[in-house]
Every structure is written in C-alpha cells, then in structure tokens.
C-alpha cells in the first residue's frame, strides 16, 4: 500500500470518511496491562447501548467505511459482542478485533470461525509468560496461547498475533516470527505509545534508538509483517516502510470510544483531541465538520523539524507520542531516529507529561486465574 507524495498530501487534507476507524466497544477489561492506551478496566455506565451501537454501524455502512477495528477494553466482555460483530459483517463491513483472548474459548472460536469478513488479533507482550505477564498480568500469556490454540483447532485460518514493541519484546522478534509461523498466523507489531497508563511506563519500556534501528531493518526484510503504519517515524532511516507514512489523526484515522466520544486517533484519548460525540452529533458530522478535525487537516508547521533533510520521510513523527511526553506538536518525535527528540525531552525545564482525561483503571490490580 505504498503511496506517492502527491497522494499523501491529499490524505493530509482529509478524506470523505476514515480509512481506519477504531471503535473501542467498552472500557471494561479483565486484565490491567501496564501500558493500556485507553486506561481500561471498569465499564463506563454511559457506554453506547446495543441500539445506539447498531445505529452507529448503520452510519458506518452508509459512509462506506470498509472495515472497523474493534477494541476496548476487552470487547468480548460486552454481552452483545457477537450481535454487534454479526450486525456489522452482515452489512459488508469488515471487522478486525483485538482481544486478550481470555474469553476466546472453544465455543467462541467456533462461532468466530463462522463469520465472514472477520480478522482477529490476539495480544501478547512477550514470547513467553515471564516477559508478557510482567506487562499484561499473571496468567495472561497462557490464556492468550489457549485462545490461539482454540482458533487453530476451530480452523479459523490465519489470525494475527499482535505485539507492542517494548525494550524487552523487541529483542524477541525472531521468536515471535517462529511463534506466528507455528500457528500459520500473521505477526503484527505496533509501537508503544505513552498514552493512557502508558504515560507512566513509556520512559521505562520504549525501545532504545539502537533497538529501533534494528527493528526498522528487520521490518524492511519482512514486508509481510503487519504494522498498521505504526513505525513511520522510523522511515527517516532510509527507504520508507510499507504504509501511508503519515500521521493520520483526524485525516484518515480516528477513534470512537465506548461512550461515543470521537478522538483524533486511538492514542490521544484526551480532551484536547476530542472532536465530538456520535450520540449528540452523529459520526459523519463529527468527521466532516468538527473544528478539531478541520484544523488537523490544514497544512502542518514542520516546526523544529523544518531544517531536517528527513522531514519528508517521517513527517515529524507521532502527534500522540509528542503530546503525552510533554513535547510540542512542532517538536521532533520523542523517538526521532537521529536523537533530536531525546534532545528536546532533555531540554524541558519541567516535565510536562499529560495524563489521559478518561481513566477507567481498576482501583486495585487483580490477578488473572488460569
């Protein structure tokens, strides 16, 4: 899905509808991952009802949004999970959903296998329980593996194994590849963002500059590994990675949260990036006319990156990563491959880390029984 620069500038001006719409179905989650970008845990009493969710799906179909990414929270904790997925796919909307796998037993695997246009991503954060459970909670790795076994046994076909790249997991790339191959699964790697609970963890967990460099070359050798356009800030190292290679926030991407709030992207659940609400305004009106999205589609100011010869490759990187580490939007990405972001962070007189304005974390950490 490579695009030339003229097309990319059209994308930066926004599209009639998003290419990539993420819809977090619920803030409820039975895990408590330390880096959760939506600070999930407890269900919000204001979450969309089944009828409201179906009305939203109708609107998504009318806007010709080809597929939606469903997440949470843990989406399978919603009682109407299957009803909503089947309602969407019956209207020819592809569904990709992310799950921790804890609810994906043999019966669920069988039912999921019967649905067309469905992709499943099971999340782990290490290639073994020791590494993964440190982030996702005790017992979570074994449960995710059981879910993978169930999908394999049900004949689901190539599901996805989704891994956030941390300082530890990035050292296990070849083993992740082997694990995916052993299931006939696809590997999907995404960038750790300092969003949600990740704001506290990011400094300890994000890969080093050297690790990011190795990751870039590893990915260049493996175009079959999915990344969701997550690592475009690494494209400054040479040939662009596969993907659109731009910040899609409010332009080709957005997030609808469980209570119907529309944010510019899944990584900026914060009032500053809140464009509107589907209950109040309808999704199409928010997407097409909200003040926030209109401003995000105006030509950007390259700021501190203007004099860098690689600006055209990385476009200054990820807005969310800058925002939550306290950088300005015109600053370099905190993980700029040339170290300009580290310099910008080091020169902060005070640390301006921001917190998400939605926090549904459980008040106490719970162990997962296996």
């Amino acid at each position: 899905m490579g695009v030339d620069s003229s097309l990319r500038s059209r994308f930066e001006q926004g599209l009639a509808a998003p290419i990539c719409l993420t819809w977090e179905l619920t803030y409820a989650c039975n895990l408590a991952c330390t880096h959760c970008l939506s600070s999930s845990g407890r269900r919000d009493p204001k979450e969309l009802t089944t009828d409201e969710a179906k009305k939203l799906i109708d609107e998504i179909a009318a806007m010709q949004i080809f597929y939606i990414n469903i997440g949470g929270g843990e989406p399978m904790m919603r009682k109407d999970f299957f009803e909503l997925v089947e309602y969407a796919t019956s209207q020819n909307i592809g569904v990709k959903f992310s799950t921790n796998g804890t609810r994906l037993d043999a019966a669920a695997a069988k039912r999921l296998t019967s649905i067309d246009y469905l992709d499943i991503q099971i999340s782990i954060d290490g290639v073994d329980a020791l590494t993964s459970d440190r982030i996702r909670g005790e017992g979570s790795y074994d449960q995710a593996r059981r879910a993978m076994d169930n999908l394999r046994d049900a004949g689901f076909g190539p599901f996805k194994i989704s891994v956030v790249m941390t300082r530890e997991s990035v050292e296990q790339l070849d083993q992740f590849e082997q694990l995916a191959d052993s299931y006939g699964a696809q590997l999907r790697l995404t960038r750790l963002r300092p969003s949600g609970r990740g704001v506290d963890e990011w400094a300890n967990l994000h890969p080093s500059r050297e690790q990011n460099r190795e990751l870039y070359y590893w990915l260049k050798d493996r175009p079959q590994v999915l990344t969701g356009d997550s690592f475009f800030h690494l494209s400054a190292l040479g040939e662009p990675l596969d993907g659109l290679n731009l910040c899609g926030a409010g332009r080709v991407v957005c997030l609808i949260d469980p209570i119907g709030d529309v944010y510019a992207c899944p990584f900026v659940i914060h009032d500053e990036f809140l464009a509107g609400n589907v209950r109040a305004d309808g999704f199409e009106a928010v997407w097409q006319t909200s003040e926030l999205f209109t401003s995000l589609r105006e030509p950007g100011n390259p700021g501190a990156c203007a004099s860098c010869g690689s600006f055209d490759a990385c476009r200054g990187g990820c807005m969310a990563a800058k925002f939550f580490t306290g950088l300005e939007i015109t600053d370099p990405d905190p993980e700029c491959v040339f170290g300009h972001g580290e310099t910008a962070l080091a020169s902060q007189r005070v640390t301006l880390r921001r917190a998400s304005t939605q926090d549904h974390s459980r008040r106490t950490r719970i162990a997962v029984s296996s």
């Binding site: 097309l7 059209r10 009639a16």
Partner: protein, 93 residues
C-alpha cells in the same frame, strides 16, 4: 476463499470491477477495498474511476478505453487497468 489470480492482463478480453470490491469516491479519485485480500488500493483520478465503474458494460477492456479515454492517454489507462487486475480489483467477466 480464493479468486483466480490474473497475472496476464489481456485488454482484448472482457473485464469488470470485482464483485468482492467496494469503491468509495474521494476528491482525488477513489479508494478500492478488496474484501477477500483485505487490500486497499487507490485510484488516483476521477476518469479512471469512471472507466473502472463502466468497464463491465463493454465487450473488451480495449473497447472501454477507446470509448471513454482520450487517445493520447490510452497506454496510461491500459497500464492502470493492468495494475488493478494484478491486485484483483478487476476480474474477468
């Protein structure tokens, strides 16, 4: 489900927009999404979108290009159709 993959695009054969593909108009042209391959493809001009939408009305792809595209642009549009056939946006009809 797999469709027959077509490496050789024959403009003297009949082609059409694959029934497995959704097209969405955009200011620059259109987005095409293939529901089986899950690939997203960009059609980078409005005339190309019209050609693709109407391709199935003609006995051959060549006929469609001759009827709908100025002659100076024929080669470019045939090349665009070939590329769309390779990504299975088009299929034989």
């Amino acid at each position: 489900m797999t469709l027959v993959t077509t490496d050789a695009f024959d403009a003297s054969a009949a082609w059409q927009l694959s029934p497995r593909v959704s097209l969405r108009d955009e200011t620059f042209g259109a987005l095409a999404y293939h529901h089986d391959t899950r690939r997203l493809v960009f059609l980078k001009s409005r005339p190309l979108v019209s050609l693709v939408r109407r391709l199935g009305e003609f006995a051959t792809a060549s006929d469609a290009v001759t009827a709908l595209v100025p002659s100076a642009e024929h080669d470019r549009y045939v090349a665009a159709l070939r590329s769309l056939a390779r990504s299975e946006i088009l299929c034989g009809s």
